[in-house]
Subunit: 439 residues, 2 copies
């Protein structure tokens, strides 16, 4: 057996203990984690300083360094998050459905941990604690693969997670750190031991992982979000939403990448486009939009779009603009060029909004709201595991619920299937109220 | 573009129309389907007679021929099922969650079709209608690949589904039949166009498909179900459940394959074993159980089990019997040798039952009930799509719900994400009641 197969196998055993322990035990582990983060602050910051020193030697710069750096403040925020999670309701064992199959034979569908997660993330060491805490809360085992540049910070933080489990009387083997790329490649082969891969990083990383494993992958490779300005769009709202969608955080997956414009809105386009260009946005317009912008006085600068501009994720202050004949054409465009992440309409016509909401087949579909709202925190899901554009299991922003599956429990008194049938007992299939008994 | 890529792409477009149509339109299609099955009964039975004649020339026999044969009665049963489905509540658009993010900005999570299904099944032509009707109900497009021996029957039935869509003003391209094995291989490559594969057939078929595609597969390759007889098992119940589990339908995936016995129950084993052997069951016992059975007067026949008997799916009147030290050892055994399908305990000790229910990590876990209850109809799910031993998306017996995903709808009044934050608006995240508005 390979080293990783045996680690993962051991991790699955430990996870079964974690997942079937009491909610109080998992809560105690989270409380211990918060305490350990405080008690070991010095050690954590020293490891992080070593990582930072190495990063400077490796000439890492700017945002990458910022994301790598921990501080007393960041640790305090992490601890607050862990404690909030500890206080929250225990999801495991919560009944979703309860049915009397016949008197004295009662079926219950309850929430259960998924099993073993492999989480692959880039430089931020905070992710070890954020994701590790979510795994503890949801009773899942977790293999954590962070960036090489955060190796020393990650190692200390993984040890905090393991020691927190131990402190609560749980098996610390339910959490393990993963080091190199070769290890990840080996783990991605273990589809009998790992239940879900969660890559948090660039589209390139996500695509590479999706291509390279049979294990289900939760995530999104691309966020090509559209904002459709309908005939009845309010120009002020349209401008507000286009600005927010494009300039709020251009690198985010929920940023707006293409503006679709109804011909009736075209006369309003130059003014909206001017606000965008003033905010530093470069426009790539199709022939009709380009003509309108060029003819405006004063003209608005735009370049003529090429075919490959449609469905492109800019991740920057670039915006494609296309004129579509009507609402139906806008929806078809989104289905052809979109990535199924988030798409929005701006319109004062309630019927147009409802048709858009009904027909657009994306994880998130909005009317008169910025595409930037597609986010677990903004949705009120608490901690976010990721945003999924897959259609199986979880879709859109995913919180703790996305780390759970269900089990069916049946409590009887000795009933056999052959006791039922014509001339024998018959099924009642009576829905019973579900009473959440777990804290 | 390959022929199947273009068919699947066209099918996805048609599916989007089906999925976003009104519930009334989908209901009308199901009603039309029932009428077509009646109007074309002669044509259907003639096609089936041709398949049967060919099957006899090919020397097909017994159960295979039975499953291939349609009759006026079978068609009447199919029609009744279709009408029942037509009458049922429309699942699409049903809200699961409704949250006010802030006044005038309301988020809803609603049920939506998965998209495009590829269903692969063996000889029974009835499956075309059963699965096709479920797809229509759930707004999914479906590619139907039946057995070659039912080719003519399947072709007529697929046409009934298409014509039913047309009759309801929906695009008939949302349903397509698939012919040969080469076509299936080509379809299994289209992970960008097909959302879920549902193989209904032997474990060998399921395994081959799981190995050969990146598309998620709903199903189970194996059903290795255990029945654990605890120290406090009631002997009469234990016998009743072992008999039902093993002899009710030995080829079923929910049949009992291994009996685990607590040492304290061992003195009761010969009597239970005798009932099993009288019912034609051959026992493969471990050393301890074998000794107990051989020493009984009169002795009960059993052969000594070998290592490969554990975790084996017999599909026949064979039963492995092993003695385990205690409840914990039984649970470990199930995790080591089981397939995560269905496992049951027999015990009069409520604490032992609850520990078993809490700790066994299988799709279905039972106390004092036969493993044979693991079934969509018996669970009251209505039509069953299949039984999943996967942990992602759907687990255990799967009904229409397993063919659905969700979308997040956000209705605003022009709100941007940048309107929120310190010193600006803050999120209310107020849970709102969900009101099912669809019939």
């Amino acid at each position: 057996m390979s080293a990783w197969r045996s680690t993962a196998s051991r991790l699955r055993d430990a996870q079964r203990g974690l997942g079937s322990a009491s909610g109080a035990a998992r809560r105690a582990a989270l409380a211990a984690l918060s305490e350990l983060l405080e008690a070991r602050e010095e050690e954590i910051l020293a490891a992080n300083a070593a990582d930072l020193a190495q990063a400077e030697r490796d000439a890492l710069t700017g945002p990458l360094l910022d994301r790598l750096a921990l501080s007393a403040e960041k640790l305090a925020t992490l601890r607050a998050g862990v404690l909030q999670l500890a206080k929250g309701k225990d999801p495991i064992g919560q009944p979703l459905l309860k049915t009397e199959l016949s008197p004295g034979l009662v079926l219950e569908q309850v929430k259960s941990p998924l099993g073993v997660l492999l989480v692959i993330f880039e430089s931020r060491p905070d992710a070890v604690i954020q994701i590790g805490a979510l795994a503890l809360k949801s009773g899942n085992g977790v293999l954590l693969k962070g960036g090489r540049e955060a190796a020393q910070s990650n190692a200390v933080l993984v040890r905090c997670l393991q020691d927190a489990l131990q402190a609560a009387g749980l098996d610390p083997a339910a959490v393990a750190g993963v080091e190199g790329r070769a290890d990840v490649a080996e783990l991605l082969e273990l589809d009998d031991l790992i239940d879900l891969v969660i890559p948090r990083g660039s589209g390139q990383l996500v695509r590479a992982i999706q291509q390279g494993t049979r294990i289900p992958v939760l995530g999104h490779a691309e966020g090509v979000c559209h904002l459709y300005l309908d005939a009845d769009a309010d120009p002020a709202k349209a401008t507000h939403l286009a600005l927010d969608g494009k300039t709020g955080y251009p690198a985010a997956c929920n940023a707006t990448e293409t503006l679709l414009v109804h011909p009736a809105f075209l006369p309003q386009l130059p003014r909206l486009a001017r606000a965008l260009t003033e905010a530093g946005v470069r426009l790539r317009a199709d022939a009709r939009a380009h003509a309108e912008l060029s003819a405006a006085a004063p003209a608005v600068e735009s370049v003529l779009a090429v075919e490959s501009d449609w469905g492109h994720e800019w991740g920057d202050l670039e915006l494609a603009v296309a004129v579509v004949d009507d609402l139906g054409a806008a929806i078809d465009w989104i289905h052809r060029h979109g990535s199924g992440h988030t798409d929005a309409i701006v319109s004062e016509d309630p019927a147009a909004c409802e048709e858009f909401l009904r027909r657009v087949d994306s994880a998130s579909v909005f009317a008169n709201a910025s595409t930037r709202f597609a986010d677990g925190f903004r949705y009120g899901l608490g901690a976010e595991v990721g945003i999924s554009t897959g259609r199986i299991h979880a879709r859109g922003p995913v919180g703790v619920e996305g780390l759970l599956t269900t089990r069916w429990l049946l409590r009887g008194q000795g009933q056999a299937a052959s006791d039922f049938g014509p001339g024998k007992q018959s099924y009642t299939h009576r829905a019973l109220p579900t009473d959440p008994t777990h804290g």
